[in-house]
Symmetry: C2
DNA sequence: TTATATTGCGTAACGCTGTTACGGAAAGCG
DNA sequence: CGCTTTCCGTAACAGCGTTACGCAATATAA
């Protein structure tokens, strides 16, 4: 029955796993609470004490799971980039045609920003520094998101749809366009209405089409 | 000699002016201290008490000259936009050719961001909300800066250099490109080196040239 | 079962922050 | 000289991120 493990040893094992699971759960609860509170209060007005209150723990407890507030925010940004990356991947898979794929990527980028403005501001405007900060090599989600675009660009070049050149540079320029429109749309609020966003997007797409695509 | 004004009246007048001048001076000193401190400490880590200490006053005194910290920051942003606007105007005046003018504007925009990264982050990333917030109709510097670009676009369209279309939309798209490159260059730091910035700028200019210019 | 070791968490505190109520000193003014 | 206005500092409030410390509960071993 017990193959070289006593009952006590097995109990110790499951007990250890349960405690690890509880730790993971609490860590997740902290992250979720931070996320929801962040959506309500925004970047400023997000405090450790409020997060703690929401999950029913003391503020100091958070420090057993995250080094400091920046660490917690970095996790939020990571979470955002994972969702962002998924949207981009979904868009990239929506078509096999490189041209349509790039258009879908651009639209997916802008849509993400418009649907998650608070997160977008954190990820790309307020804490832009996280994007390039090497945080114990844990910045995979950011890199992956860019990789999706760059890969599409490379495919476009190989297929002869995009003009030849450095894929990274081309990706950066495309990123610049969609980021600019997105951030302007978010900040503009009422002054920059939906129609203007749509028109700008349309014109930007055409500009990319005629400025970067091969003919 | 005294044309219907007594000496006492004249004294009262100059005294009043002197006090007004002193108020203006102090207001300016607060703004300058905030600016220099902001350049050193950045957006976070800029406190009323530090500003006060730098000018030799109590922290509460600042509140006699600015409503709150946001009001003070708004003044800083205004200051930044005045300098920004001047750079743009200078660039616009550098050439009579609409094509060259637009290129100069784009380059001036990017240069401003690279030379004043701290200010650029405040103006266009951290407190982007100031851009569109109507603060007692005091947002002229922001509007003016955009106006310079939009005017150049209109001239370009009239001259047949730029493709016909809504000047505002075209301006937004151009702004998006330069803003994207600038913010990426600032945030990227070492990862996004000067050469990449130059290459991206060059490609972006060409994209604008072939995507928005008439042929 | 009992004793020891480890883990998990809260309390209290430090030095900050933005902001306000209040009082006192100085200057203007008749 | 006396009154009024202007100007500014002190003290305080509530809140912030963060840390040192200690207690209680649990796990482990005898």
């Amino acid at each position: 029955m017990s193959q070289s493990t006593t009952q006590a040893e097995r109990l110790r094992e499951v007990s250890r796993r349960r405690r690890e699971q509880e730790k993971e759960d609490l860590r997740r609860r902290i992250l979720d609470a931070t996320g929801s509170l962040f959506l309500e209060q925004g970047y400023e007005g997000l405090s450790m004490r409020q997060i703690a209150e929401r999950i029913g723990y003391s503020a100091t407890t958070i420090y057993r799971y995250y080094n400091d507030k920046d660490d917690l925010l970095f996790a939020i940004v990571q979470d955002g980039f994972m969702r962002f990356g998924k949207e981009l991947v979904k868009a990239a898979q929506s078509s096999d045609d490189p041209r349509e794929r790039l258009a879908a990527l651009g639209q997916a980028y802008i849509n993400f920003g418009l649907k998650n403005p608070i997160y977008y501001q954190l990820m790309f405007m307020q804490r832009f520094d996280f994007l390039f900060e090497s945080r114990a090599e844990k910045q995979a989600p950011m890199i992956d998101s860019f990789a999706v675009l760059q890969q599409a660009v490379e495919q476009g070049m190989q297929a002869g749809v995009l003009r030849q050149g450095d894929p990274e540079t081309t990706s950066i320029v495309i990123w610049s366009v969609v980021h600019g429109i997105t951030s302007l749309a978010i900040a503009g609020g009422k002054r920059f209405n939906k129609n203007q966003v749509r028109e700008s997007t349309k014109l930007a797409m055409r500009m990319i089409g005629e400025g970067l695509m091969a003919r």
